[in-house]
């Protein structure tokens, strides 16, 4: 806002129907012409593009408010409808009101007591914040039961609703063939006994004079209602037909005008805000042109919006209707036109009404009218209002950079020069600000705009930057480029959890990709096969502070899902530390220094010993250098052996996945919880660096020879598979002889299948065991599987031993041709090879048949994933929507935004899911604390103080504390 006062805030939104008078009042113009532009391309007055409805062409001025395109929001116009039409959205409610109110006096067909009762019900439901529609529906149902109006006594008829917008009143009237019907039912029934009824009997039964009965029988006299009903009762015959009397919208409008407001409130309708007659339109508001802009195509032709098309239709019919009526056209034609007008207004509101053909564009595409604009994922609500587009954002491909800290992100220079941060110039930073401006928009730590104290914004260009720089004074604002250390928000979709959006510190880099430390891949679920990520530059100090304190990667090391670290070493880092610590190898001074060169460790520890007069260092010892000095831990590690750490020294054990990995690596987890997030960040960074050096020192590669087994082992594998085949054959024979005993609750066929699956499963496992025996400890695939870096022994089994049974829907492959899977087999062949057992390994290669079965199994997996992503996405959306309003309060309760208490204490004990792993109870070591206090082993008073009070480690320190100085490009 240029005027300077603060923008207004929306406090509340109320909903209601609009009075047609209100439409007329707010209307900028009445629209009477269906044409849009004249031959010269100017909008026609009182046409759909009337300049009083707003402007869309740049440069023109709005005739209503005088503003230009962009600042004028547009103004509504109106169409006077020739005849009232029904608003489709309220068709059901209109039906209910017609059925529930008296056709004569328009009052609700309920007695005063009933009304009072429903009013009470309604109040109670409202106060309980439950759905009121159940009560109102019940009230209508009750009212509908009445035959006569309790107020004026008028007989009520049923109202039939023909979708979408036609209503009939159904009256029971005397059928034209009444005399024949009476005569027919007086005849004796040939199937049953009895002689029928004589007119005399009828007269007696019905209390009608015998002469009158004869008159009726001859068709000379039409019985009145009472007589008719008496005869019907006496003869058990139906003498009526339904007469459908169409209710025109104008009739309904007149009807509704008389419904008293007091009766409406029983139905939950607020008569002050929504009168029922307003549901029948007499005036149609015309949306402003800004809501339906026309597009000028390349060839100069104008293409109108769908809504404009629809409005054109409405105006055309409206005019024809009026002309015809004035000319005194027959009722039939008028009704046809009325229906047509109704159709156009209906489709203007909603073009997806069932039973109505949708209005189509000339090309055959259904028009997108009002409802369609609001509905669905791309609709106004979900697409435009809940999801908004933002400035200061960037998106590009990501790639790895192990030299960055996990808190950092490499930002391409061309992104950094586009995204800016506002810098308020003061005495302290004026020099810096001038230098930015001087560098201009192209040079890297430059500036794109400056704002003078009077609010004028000036673009910094190459031409003016030098001159502008001199004029920068305290009080100006400079839009400077991103520089190293700035905080930005980084995101990868799908944003399934909060670690999908984290704050990083900028490191400006050449080339065009965002660069990440590989350890942040698990939280983002990112890889580098072409993934793109989004970056958002923060625009105010609150946002930056919040991002730095709450959203920085190091603050997100612990996952609230399971309360352990989600960030940790991955893949090669784990192989690296495994190689470094498993066999505890030794290194000479050069090697040891090289391993630690990317860490903060500047001096090697005391050597572990001497060989040939040369000092040497052990792997575990070097790893220990990264640990906090006071870390003491003992647990069973990845490889099943104990890991012992005492006072920051790894005494025993292998460092692999369970120690330093993401998803609960014990050491990382402990450091993050005990020593703080900053220490954990340093540790993870250094472990990654050390591990990379280590894996490079040892060398790590995998080739086809690593998965090839010896001939002897191959033979043993073949033997195992062969014996499984034999056993399967035996099973099949027992089955065919009818000797197979079925498992409880299973058929014999199912039992056979299960047993065969079991046998073949075992065969693959034993093949795997043979293969595993065959590989050395230092086989790279084995190292990866053992350390948990990547892959499993199953993968190795499939590569070296035997791929095993392929399954579709958890069963052997049983589909394809009649009685067989492929035409290569005999019908009803139960053998393993005919049902997808792959005996080859990936190294030996699959036969064509095996390959086909393998593809079947693989395809099922793909389909499964595709179905799963959509299902779980919807589940996630629903969960978020249902729970998004819950928040813990200062009193420890969990409440929603309308202050309803959902939990008195989060998770029954108020424990944060981030701090406490789900696998442990949050037990505070009271005994231990007491011991420590009583024995008072504190060296200083400060230490004691620290022990007693809440520890709040500083979190918002930038890793770029010292480097916040501007350097020029040149």
């Amino acid at each position: 806002m240029s005027t300077g006062h603060s923008p207004m805030e929306i406090g509340e939104i109320s909903f209601g129907l609009m009075n047609p008078e209100e439409y007329r009042d707010m209307s900028a113009t009445k629209v009477i012409t269906a044409d849009t532009y004249d031959d010269d391309g100017f909008p026609i007055d009182m046409g759909l593009m009337d300049p009083r409805l707003g402007v869309i062409d740049p440069g023109l001025e709005c005739k209503t408010c005088g503003q230009r395109s962009g600042s004028c929001n547009g103004h509504f116009g109106h169409i006077e409808l020739a005849a009232p039409v029904i608003h489709v959205g309220f068709a059901k409610l209109i039906r209910r009101l017609l059925r529930g109110t008296c056709r004569e006096c328009a009052r609700l067909l309920l007695t005063e007591e009933e009304k009072e009762q429903y009013r009470e019900d309604l109040d109670r439901t409202r106060s309980l914040r439950e759905d009121v529609s159940d009560v109102t529906k019940a009230a209508i149902r009750e009212a509908r039961k009445k035959d006569h109006c309790p107020h004026c006594g008028e007989v009520q008829y049923d109202v039939k609703h023909e979708k979408p917008t036609t209503y009939y009143e159904v009256q029971q009237v005397l059928a034209s063939d009444y005399s024949e019907r009476i005569a027919a039912s007086m005849q004796p029934d040939p199937d049953e006994e009895g002689s029928g009824m004589s007119p005399q009997e009828v007269a007696e039964e019905t209390d009608i004079d015998i002469s009158r009965v004869n008159e009726i029988l001859s068709g000379e006299f039409r019985p009145r209602r009472d007589d008719r009903e008496a005869i019907e009762a006496a003869l058990g015959a139906d003498l009526t037909t339904e007469d459908m009397n169409k209710l025109m919208p104008s009739d309904i409008r007149d009807w509704f005008e008389d419904v008293p407001g007091e009766d409406l409130s029983v139905l939950g309708i607020d008569p002050d805000r929504s009168r029922p007659e307003w549901m029948i339109l007499t005036v149609l508001p015309v949306p402003p042109v800004t809501a339906r802009p026309s597009i000028t195509l390349d060839n100069g032709q104008r293409s109108e919006d769908d809504l404009t098309h629809k409005l054109v239709d409405i105006i055309r019919i409206n005019q024809r209707f009026m002309e015809n009526r004035e000319a005194g056209a027959p009722q039939l034609i008028i009704e046809d036109l009325w229906e047509l007008l109704q159709y156009h207004v209906t489709t203007f509101m909603d073009n997806e009404i069932s039973g109505t053909p949708p209005a189509r564009h000339r090309s055959g595409r259904p028009l997108k009218t009002l409802s369609q604009r609001l509905k669905g994922k791309e609709g106004r609500f979900r697409g435009s209002l809940s999801g908004k587009r933002v400035n200061f954002s960037a998106r590009t491909v990501i790639s790895p950079d192990p030299t960055l800290s996990l808190n950092e992100v490499g930002v391409p220079d061309r992104v950094a020069t586009e995204m800016t941060q506002t810098m308020v110039v003061n005495e302290q930073n004026v020099e810096r600000a001038r230098r930015y401006v001087q560098n201009g928009p192209e040079g890297h730590p430059g500036a794109n705009y400056v704002t003078r104290p009077d609010g004028r914004r000036v673009r910094v260009t190459e031409k003016v930057c030098e001159e502008l720089a001199e004029r920068v004074e305290p009080g100006w604002e400079v839009q400077r480029h991103l520089i190293d250390g700035d905080i930005i928000i980084f995101n990868r979709q799908p944003s399934l959890h909060r670690m999908s959006i984290m704050a990083h510190e900028v490191v400006v880099m050449p080339y065009k990709t965002f660069r990440l430390n590989t350890v942040v891949c698990p939280p983002y679920n990112a890889d580098f096969d072409g993934d793109e990520m989004n970056m958002h530059a923060l625009q105010n100090e609150e946002a930056r502070a919040e991002a730095r304190v709450l959203m920085r990667v190091q603050e997100q090391i612990l996952s609230p899902r399971f309360g352990e670290n989600i960030i940790g070493a991955i893949q090669d880092h784990i192989s690296g530390t495994y190689l470094l610590t498993n066999a505890n190898p030794t290194f000479n001074e050069t090697q040891a220094s090289d391993l630690l060169r990317q860490t903060r460790i500047n001096e090697l520890p005391e050597p572990a010993g001497m060989t040939d007069g040369e000092p040497y260092w052990e792997g575990r010892q070097l790893f220990s250098e990264l640990l906090p000095d006071d870390l003491t831990l003992e647990f069973t590690g990845t490889v099943g052996e104990p890991v012992v750490i005492e006072d920051g020294q790894l005494l025993e054990g292998t460092i692999a996945e369970d120690e330093i990995g993401g998803f609960g690596g014990e050491i990382v987890d402990t450091i993050a919880k005990v020593h703080g997030k900053t220490r954990a960040r340093i540790f993870i960074n250094e472990v990654a660096a050390l591990a990379m050096r280590s894996i490079m020192h040892f060398g790590f590669s995998i080739g086809i020879d690593d998965e090839t087994v010896s001939t002897e082992a191959r033979e043993r594998i073949d033997e195992a598979i062969q014996s499984a085949y034999d056993r399967v054959q035996e099973l099949i024979e027992t089955y065919e002889n009818g000797d197979l005993e079925s498992l409880p609750g299973r058929t014999v066929d199912e039992t056979l299948e299960m047993k065969i699956m079991q046998t073949l499963g075992k065969a693959r496992d034993s093949a795997g065991d043979v293969a595993a025996e065959n590989f050395d400890e230092d086989n790279p695939a084995v190292v990866m599987a053992d350390s948990g870096a990547r892959g499993s022994m199953l993968n190795l089994t499939q590569m070296a031993g035997c791929v095993g049974q392929q399954a579709v829907r958890g069963e052997r492959i049983n589909r394809g041709y009649e009685d067989r899977t492929l035409s290569h087999f005999e019908p009803n062949d139960l053998s393993s090879e005919a049902h997808g057992f792959v005996e080859n390994s990936y190294t030996s290669g699959l036969t064509p048949k095996e390959f086909f079965f393998h593809a079947m199994g693989g395809r099922e997996g793909l389909v499964d994933t595709a179905v799963r992503t959509s299902k779980s996405g919807y589940l996630q959306r629903r969960l978020i929507n249902a729970l998004s309003e819950l928040e813990t309060q200062y009193d420890g309760t969990v409440r929603d935004t309308s202050d309803t208490i959902v939990q008195f204490e989060f998770g029954e004990d108020g424990t944060s899911p981030v701090e406490v792993s789900s696998s442990e109870d949050n037990d505070i070591d009271v005994e231990g604390i007491a011991d420590r206090v009583i024995e008072a082993e504190f060296e200083t008073e400060d230490e004691k103080e620290a022990f007693l009070s809440v520890q709040e480690p500083p979190t918002n320190l930038s890793e770029h504390g010292a480097s916040w100085e501007v350097e020029s490009d040149d």
């Binding site: 109320s14 899902r561 309360g563 609960g664 969990v894 939990q903 206090v933």
Partner: protein
């Protein structure tokens, strides 16, 4: 031993610790010798700091965090239905479909099952356990004997298997007597005259009609002679439980209320996977517990047991918040929100807006979604704090 003087108690009571921790501090102090008042204060302070460190922060948007913590592992779950843990004979819906079923609060699950524990000797002796099995499992005629239809005489003949009768009615010795009981049941539910000869039963339609005869056979198949109609099968297994090794029953089909009333069934441990049945039988708190247990079991079975149970509690709590089981979605929590905009932004946009107009609703813009829509800061998390820098110097 240290005496807990009122002043010591006072010191501990003044902390913000929850009850159980206050008690633990006092117990610990009591167990030790000569703890001074100052030391007690220090112990209490230290425990309090540890406690506060692990507490959730005020204004933490725990709802969103919990929703994400359950939704995110959903992407890793399988779609397939697999076998019940350990019981190879039974198929039970698991994985993502089961999770969806739970938060949807479906009236009946895809595969209703009960996990029935037995009391004392019923759990120890196989015979006794079987007694309970026959009281639960629905016994239909096909399990008892052979049916033959004699079209010439218009008679249905049931040849009951004596062994089966003996097995299923262990408390009755005489098979003829059992057969008599069966005959009575048939008479009662089909309205026909049954003639009994030992264990052979015969009956036919009152008037000779081929159609009626076949219909009778069809109806006969559906009669439940013993057990609970909804339970089609019971699997008995010997399992290691908290009570040691005992017999445990798994049922296909569920009738929780009926099952709990059967003699020998341990009502304190028996569970059912239909949360509505649990609700009806044991009330809303039990239903909440059942939701937590079932979601946790579903996640555990998929190897996602590391999900913090507190998240599941929150979901269960909001589902049962108003005393009934509300589903998560359009028909439940999201559909009954106060805000029109929030409902419109979730699903069925247009009808919510139209209804709001008729009822003259107001949107106070309290919630998250509404504020996103109108472009105001959300009143949640850091948006719920109103701290401003003071204008005067405080030095």
């Amino acid at each position: 031993m240290t005496d807990i003087t009122p002043s010591i108690r006072q010191t501990v009571e003044e902390t913000e610790l929850p009850r159980r921790l206050k008690e633990r501090v006092l117990d610990t102090v009591e167990d030790r010798d000569g703890v001074t008042a100052a030391e007690v204060r220090e112990i209490a302070d230290a425990v309090e700091s540890r406690y506060i460190e692990t507490r959730v922060d005020p204004l933490d948007p725990v709802g969103t965090v919990s929703a994400q913590s359950i939704g995110e592992p959903g992407t890793q779950m399988t779609m397939n239905t697999f076998h019940y843990a350990g019981v190879a004979e039974m198929d039970v819906t698991q994985g993502l479909p089961r999770l969806i079923e739970l938060v949807d609060a479906r009236k009946t699950p895809d595969t209703p099952v009960m996990h029935v524990f037995l009391e004392d000797e019923y759990g120890e002796e196989r015979e006794k356990a079987h007694e309970v099995v026959w009281k639960i499992e629905a016994t239909k005629i096909l399990a008892l004997g052979d049916i033959s239809t004699n079209v010439a005489d218009m008679v249905v003949r049931i040849d009951l298997n004596e062994d089966t009768l003996q097995e299923r009615w262990p408390l009755m010795d005489d098979t003829t007597e059992i057969a008599g009981e069966i005959a009575e049941t048939i008479e009662g539910s089909l309205g026909v005259q049954v003639t009994q000869q030992g264990t052979v039963l015969e009956f036919g339609p009152s008037e000779p009609s081929y159609r009626e005869l076949l219909q009778l056979v069809e109806q006969l198949r559906d009669i439940v002679f013993k057990g609970i109609e909804d339970v089609s099968r019971v699997v008995i297994r010997r399992e290691e439980t908290d009570k040691g090794e005992e017999f445990v029953l798994y049922t296909e089909g569920s009738a929780y209320k009926k099952a709990l009333n059967i003699e020998g069934v341990d009502a304190s441990r028996t569970t059912c996977n239909n949360i509505h049945e649990v609700h009806k039988t044991l009330g809303i708190e039990a239903a909440r517990e059942a939701i937590i247990d079932e979601t946790m079991a579903t996640l555990e079975e998929q190897g996602l047991g590391d999900v913090n149970i507190r998240h599941l509690m929150l979901v269960a709590d909001i589902m049962t918040n108003d005393g009934t089981i509300q589903s998560i979605g359009r028909h439940g929590i999201s559909g009954s929100k106060d805000s029109v905009l929030a409902r419109a932004a979730f699903e069925v946009t247009v009808s919510h807006l139209l209804d709001a107009a008729i009822y003259g609703e107001r949107d106070d813009l309290d919630g998250v979604i509404e504020n996103v829509i109108v472009g105001k800061p959300v009143r949640l998390g850091t948006g719920d704090v109103n701290l401003r820098m003071g204008t005067t110097k405080s030095d």
